[in-house]
Amino acid sequence: MFSGWNWVAYGFCLLLNFSSLQVSGGLVQSCGHIIPESPVLALGSNFTALCILNESCLDFGNIYANQIIWKIKNQVVPKEQYREINRTVSSVTFNDTSSLATPLTCNILADGQIEQNIYGIAVTIGLPPEKPKNLSCIVHQVSKLIYPMTCTWNPGRHTFLDTHFRLKYRWPQDEFPDCIPKDVNNSCTITDVQFFVNLEVWVEAANALGKAESDRLVLDPIEIVKPLPPHNLSVNSGILPTVLKLSWENLISGAVMKLKFNIRYRTIGDGNWMQVPPEDTASPRTSFSVQGLRPYTEYVFSIRCMKEDGVGYWSDWSEEKTGVTTEDKPSKGPPIWRIIDASDSLVSWTVRLMWKTLEPFEANGIILWYEVTVRAKSSLSGPAEKYNVNTTNLTLKLPNGTYEVTVIARNRVGASPPSVLLIPASNSKAPVKAVRTLPKDGKLWVGWTAPNSYVLKYVIEWCLVSNSSDCIIEWQNEPGSVQGTYLRGDIKPFKCYLITVYPLYADGQGSGHSVKAYLQQDRPSKGPTVQTKKVGKAEAVLTWNHLTVDEQNGFIRNYTILYKTVDGNETAVPVDPSKTEYTLSSLTSDTLYTVRMMAYTDEGGRSGPDFTFTTQKFGKGEIEAIVVPVCLAFLLIVLLGVLFCFNKRDLIKKHIWPIVPDPSKSNIAQWSPQVPAKHNFSSKDQMYPEGSFTDVSVVEIEADDKKSFSEQDLKPFDLLKKEKSTSEGHSSGIGGSSCMSSPRQSVSDSDEGETTQNTSSTVQYSTVVLNGYRDQTPVQVFSRSESTQPLLDSEERSEDHTGGGDGTIQRQQYFKRSSGQDETNTDRPCFERTRQITPTNEEDLLGFAQLQISGHSSQLLGLGLEKNIQEAALPDVLQTSIEGQTLRPEIMEGYPLSADEMPKSYLPQTVRQGGYMPQ
């Protein structure tokens, strides 16, 4: 920076001087100058400058020293620092040059207060050089004969000035040219030095303010040599498998310097160097035999050197060279283990023998094959099975028993000591205790507590537990003296390992003790998928499946169920990790819940998918508690209604379907002149056998139909019989309403009636005495018919059809009524008769069909009658619709009946033959 300012100052001064010259050579003459000219000042020193005016200016410009003004960089120096020495000389003094700046100008205040510059100087401020310190030198050998010497030093503080450093050196009688550093100020290299002569070396620093020298260093350059490392290193295998011979060339003459050496070596792949004892290589040499090496091992060698007496510097390490020792026989047998599979047979095992390849330092060469010997323990004297195997496993099928297995490894030189393994019938010895694991330094450490008995060695088995692959067993041997080891294998983080420790004894082995472990745990890959098993009003049973071992990534410490309503806070419930079901209680009914489940390892948890469910509106049994009483109440009401109706049936019947007199039961019907004798209506009785009659035992049937019922059915109607007898008592005698009359008697009656009918074809009046329906009180009505028109055939037919069985029965009644016998003894003949008749003719079948239909419509007998009367104008209606049912016409067509045999009823016949009989 100072250097820059100097240039600026110089430029300024040149400009000033140039101006002064111009002026002096032209209009104005130069009036003075400053001494000292361009001074270099030490920082912090004092400084005085003088401005000397020319005499010529005194007269010409009337200028004197008391008018001089000193300025530093256009700033006026305080007057206190001025001193007027005489009328032409003015001085200015600065007690500390640190306040000084460049340029320093001498100015004068001329007439008219016009300030004019007289002269200016550039001031350079800096520091003298410090004494260079810490001078040191080293001689680097660069070739066999060239030894440049480099010296370095501490140049000291910055001087703000151009400071030159020189490295000076000399012999007692000789001076050498100085070594001048290039581009640096703290080191210099002397291209060539001479050994065995004391050399005095020092550094001189100089600038405008002074010089400084470092302390002088007197040395023989041979004492500070850093030689080149030995070259052309070669490694040759010796006679012994544990020796390698190194040879090299030294690049420095023994006459110049005697050397000592360091030899280091390592095996390939090993980063740690071993070193030959220094005392073994402390003398000058060009070869060395390294002993104590491992057979058939590749070693890397490197060498360095320095002055024999240790004065100076070690060379760099030479280039590395490799060599391989020769083979030796294997030093130990391969570690051996087995897997016994006893699942195939009860009497034999499948034994998979496994052994590990020997480490190179144990194999001492290339293993050519393994010799496996299996000998039954029970017959040690017997012949042993021998196998030569190139691989490291052998599967044998052996009968159950105890065996001694030996494995020997062979290379070109010889055989290893045998490795022995006992395969016991059972692991009956003491196991290890307290197997534990600990991840440490990226490896999995397994520890155990040794059993009390002496253990020969331990076998540690482990395998990766996974859903996607089988448990592939890996193992390793450990000596019996240890109680912990690191697993030597590719142990992966976040994977579950099943580790088993077996103690091996001299006479057997102990059972294994297992533990599961992780090298490193992580959060589970996913959370459990929860779902509901059962949802109630206030509770829900949740189920889930355990995470697979591949998903766990660690030991599942606990589950947490998180559930919430749509707008509610989430509730967390911790759950034991062994469970797969949990019941959420105290839920709100008929509410949508979202539930999820988190599984936690030591490293954290992960949530499974959300599951939603809605609680039920009613709880268990609530619906039943409501529905059942309602149904019961309904049934009770219906039952009461039925009972009420039953009790009030007369009244209901009276109002709903009043009793309409049945013309067929009228006394005038008894007058029917023709009774078809061969119209055996009794066949219809056959159609109602006792057993089947219950189907048509409609309660609405008239009391006269009782004869169609079985006796059992009729029992409840005994009372009716009496009443009927009573009603008959009220009959007019024109015709009984009793059905108990014998058909035979009825036939005779009808004959009589026919006769009567023939006597008169018109009926003026008739008195009909009706029997009461069942327990109804018969109403005796005497009605008068003013009609002279005979009843339509269709009406009669219709009545037959609509009346169905009734009509038939009524016809029977008609016959019975004609018998005029006592009712009390007519029941039995009626039923007896029924039994005796066999339905053998087709007419009976037709009658049966008709009866069935009639039976169905019997309840509407009275109404049907009225209806039939209304429809009597339809003369061609052969089929009568009753309650929507239609008689099948083919029946009618298939069995056409003659006019005499028409079974329709008696009434049509009666009508055809003369209509109503006159009373």
Binding site: P172, Q194, L199, E200, V218, A255, V256
Partner: protein, 205 residues
């Protein structure tokens, strides 16, 4: 290092009395550098020269080509060239040995300088030879420095008369090669003798 010795050679070619001047020890130059290790340094220097002399001579012959490589015995016979007398033995006084050594190596230093100069001119591409000539010349210069120190420090001798013989400068190339060959052959012989003689005198007590 050659130029000063050439000047010294020219200077010494004038008839100068070959006697040492005795001075007080305080007037020995750079006394601080004349340390106890100078004796050992001197012995190591002589040993170094002795160890490399034969190689230097062989390389020189090899680089000069025929007839030097095949007829070195005849061409390089040192009898025809000036070489300072080295008439000391193991029983000689140490001071006498030191002075003789000084004369010998002062002469060798000048002669090696001349040979190096001639070879730089005649065989500029013979780098190995030139390097060895340079290195040997440097060693002799260091040896002179040490001998000066020993003479001055032990015997207050700071000046010794040295005869240098005839310079090869201006001679023909063959003559330059032959003179160099003759000097180097004699050098091989004398340096071995010097090494043997000097050893007991420089062994630390």
């Amino acid at each position: 290092g050659v130029v000063p010795f050439v000047a010294l050679l020219l200077l010494q070619r004038r008839p100068v009395a070959g006697r040492a001047l005795l001075v007080t020890s305080s007037s020995c130059p750079s006394h601080s550098l004349c340390r106890s290790n100078v004796q050992e340094q001197t012995r190591r220097q002589v040993a170094l020269l002795n160890a490399t002399a034969q190689d230097l001579f062989s390389l020189y012959l090899k680089c000069q080509g025929e007839p030097f490589s095949s007829e070195s015995d005849e061409l390089c016979n040192p009898s025809g060239v000036f070489f300072p007398a080295f008439r000391v033995n193991r029983t000689s006084e140490r001071k006498e040995v030191m002075v003789a050594m000084y004369k010998l190596f002062a002469f060798l230093n000048a002669s090696l300088g001349n040979i190096t100069r001639d070879q730089e001119e005649l065989n500029p591409m013979a780098k190995e030879l030139l390097d060895q000539l340079h290195n040997t010349t440097k060693t002799t210069r260091g040896l002179i420095s040490n001998l000066t120190c020993l003479l001055c420090k032990d015997y207050n001798i700071f000046q010794v008369h040295v005869s240098y013989g005839e310079s090869s400068k201006g001679k023909r190339a063959f003559k330059k090669k032959q003179q160099g060959c003759q000097v180097l052959r004699k050098y091989v012989q004398v340096i071995a003798q010097a090494a043997r003689i000097l050893l007991p005198h420089l062994t630390p007590p």
